[in-house]
Symmetry: C2
Subunit: 358 residues, 2 copies
């Protein structure tokens, strides 16, 4: 034990892996020009919601997400024991529909989840509005009580602090080559494709804009649930924070490595949010931001050995925060030569080789 | 000469007055917690456009604005001679109309301006779009060639630097009382009402939100003119900057001293701007901000002696940048015991006493 480990990337995946490895006695070095704050996880909404993200045909994503969700409470508790509480909230999710097309979409989702034995409750418009006061004229909804949410910025700060306390070394620089780094975890999000030939065309940036709002005096407070909806075909979510802030996300574009906040993105998010929560018009718009998710060729991440001493932990798409605990556990198992969590098997980067062969 | 002068407020009015007075040999002290950057002028669009702001019944505002506009080129030249060019742009204004109601509004404005002998050119929709490529499906327009625009941030920086070079002393604090300050100019914008009983109910904050955008690669560049329009009853303007930036303003609310950027304000500005310039959707949204204009009880500012040794230079509403030169000249004339510019007469605070008497 007490081996060295290099982690490329200081977002939620890299910091989680670094912390867990350092806790097991490894000497860890994290390379990131701006750890914690520089990437997609700093901007995220923080929903830990595998069920409302589920869709027929993506069972592996659901299973992996649910497995990670099961690991979240212990992960958060252990992090809190090291000094900083990441702010896990168990307020559940409501998905609302505004027209018959959206309501039909919810029916499909509800049937699918029931067929898998998942706990969902269908709501009339009136029931949805009773659970989430302030929500607009909805036609119906789904209530998913088991979802969690985490304040992503508290979490990243807590992870960073825990890493520092555990002796993790931070190098604020970019990694150009893996030569001589020893065992290394590639967790550089959308930029990971630049680090390994097998990932080069497999990981791509998926731009997202996200806003942060805050009720002004006299405004209706945010709903006590995470509220999701499709508005004119665009998925929108509103995640309340314990401190009163409301996170509104997120657009989704293929725009290369461009990280500019666009006029269109902000306008569409605000319009969608007004449909869901009419009172949001009077909220203060505190922050506008854009970041790059790491998308994979399918909806699953790449978590597993890429080659001798090189471990991929990337391509988490919209699920980086959700899947951080199970991914970090897979890294630790790899370092110890133990078998990884069962559900991570589907995320093996070996499927890229199969894909190439086909 | 070489008397002391205190200026309360380091926005465009206060800095202009301070610079001009220091140039004449006065020893000037400016009080402002955040000179240049802290107030409404830092956020402004920088239109110097008295004609397109004109409206029947507000002839005094038009005359005063035009008089100040005439003083602008020399003001800018003298400032440039002291070291920093404020970036005066002579690109004129186009006002566009999207429906028959807006077009009717433009006809009234054109008739009115012609009756006053002002130079305006009525445009068909096609002509308007030829002058300002990228403008949406407009019904008609007005071209006002004599308007100017100034980069407000360059201007404020230039004024601040010129003040420093002329020995103006800056005290980064709020003024609570005028006792013992000697001759003093009250130029604290929306906050000026707190400094003198006569202004207390006469100057009020008028909130405005304003955005700054920038074309991304592949975007149509901003139009070469300032473009103004009414969109669903809300006045919108787009002011191009020499460096490619486009300023989009401005909302107008009575909201006390609240300076929060609201979701509604941003959404309405973006929607309006998309109507005027459809390609703006792909622009980067660089900045969202809100500030407080100083509104008066009529549309004129208060410029003149309030009492022994106390001079008002406030209440400029949407016209602070435009009216800075004539206001500064009025301050200098007051200090020298000379008559002020003729057109400033209508702006005398003495009209508040008449109002009280009625």
């Amino acid at each position: 034990m007490n081996e060295n480990l290099t982690v490329v990337g200081g977002g939620v995946i890299g910091l989680s892996a670094a912390w867990r490895a350092a806790r097991r006695g490894h000497h860890v070095t994290v390379f990131d020009p701006e750890p914690a704050r520089g990437g997609a996880s700093w901007l995220a909404g923080g929903m830990l919601a595998p069920v409302t993200e589920a869709w027929p045909g993506e069972e592996h994503v659901l299973s992996l997400g649910e497995e990670s969700l099961r690991r979240w409470p212990a992960f958060a508790r252990e992090l809190a024991e090291e000094g900083a509480d990441p702010g896990l909230a168990g307020h559940g999710t409501i998905v609302v529909a505004f027209d018959s097309a959206d309501a039909g979409h919810l029916d499909i989702l509800a049937d699918y989840l029931r067929s898998l034995g998942r706990d969902v409750e269908q709501l009339t418009g009136r029931e949805a509005r009773r659970l989430a006061p302030g929500v607009g004229a909805v036609r119906g909804g789904l209530h998913v009580p088991g979802d969690l949410a985490v304040d992503n910025r508290k979490l990243l700060t807590a992870l960073f602090d825990a890493c520092v306390r555990r002796g993790v070394e931070f190098r604020r620089e970019r990694v150009e080559s893996l030569d001589g780094l020893g065992p290394v975890v590639l967790a550089a999000g959308a930029w990971t494709g630049r680090l390994h030939p097998l990932l080069e065309s497999a990981v791509r940036p998926l731009k997202g804009e996200i806003l942060r709002l805050r009720p002004r005096r006299g405004c209706l407070p945010p709903p006590p649930y995470t509220v999701r909806a499709m508005v004119e075909g665009r998925p929108i979510y509103l995640v309340p924070r314990a401190d009163g802030e409301l996170v509104l996300g997120a657009t989704q574009y293929e725009a290369g490595f461009d990280q500019a906040v666009t006029a269109r993105g902000v306008r569409e998010l605000l319009e969608g949010a007004e449909r869901i929560l009419p009172g949001i018009t009077e909220y203060e718009l505190v922050e506008i931001a854009a970041g790059l998710r790491a998308a994979s060729h399918d909806a699953l991440p790449y978590v597993g050995e890429l080659g001798e001493g090189v471990f991929a932990a990337t391509g988490h798409h919209r699920n980086g925060l959700l899947m951080a605990p199970v991914t970090a556990d897979a890294v630790v198992a790899w370092l110890a030569g133990e078998p990884p969590p069962d559900e991570i098997g589907a995320a093996t980067p070996a499927r890229l080789l199969e894909k190439e062969r086909v």
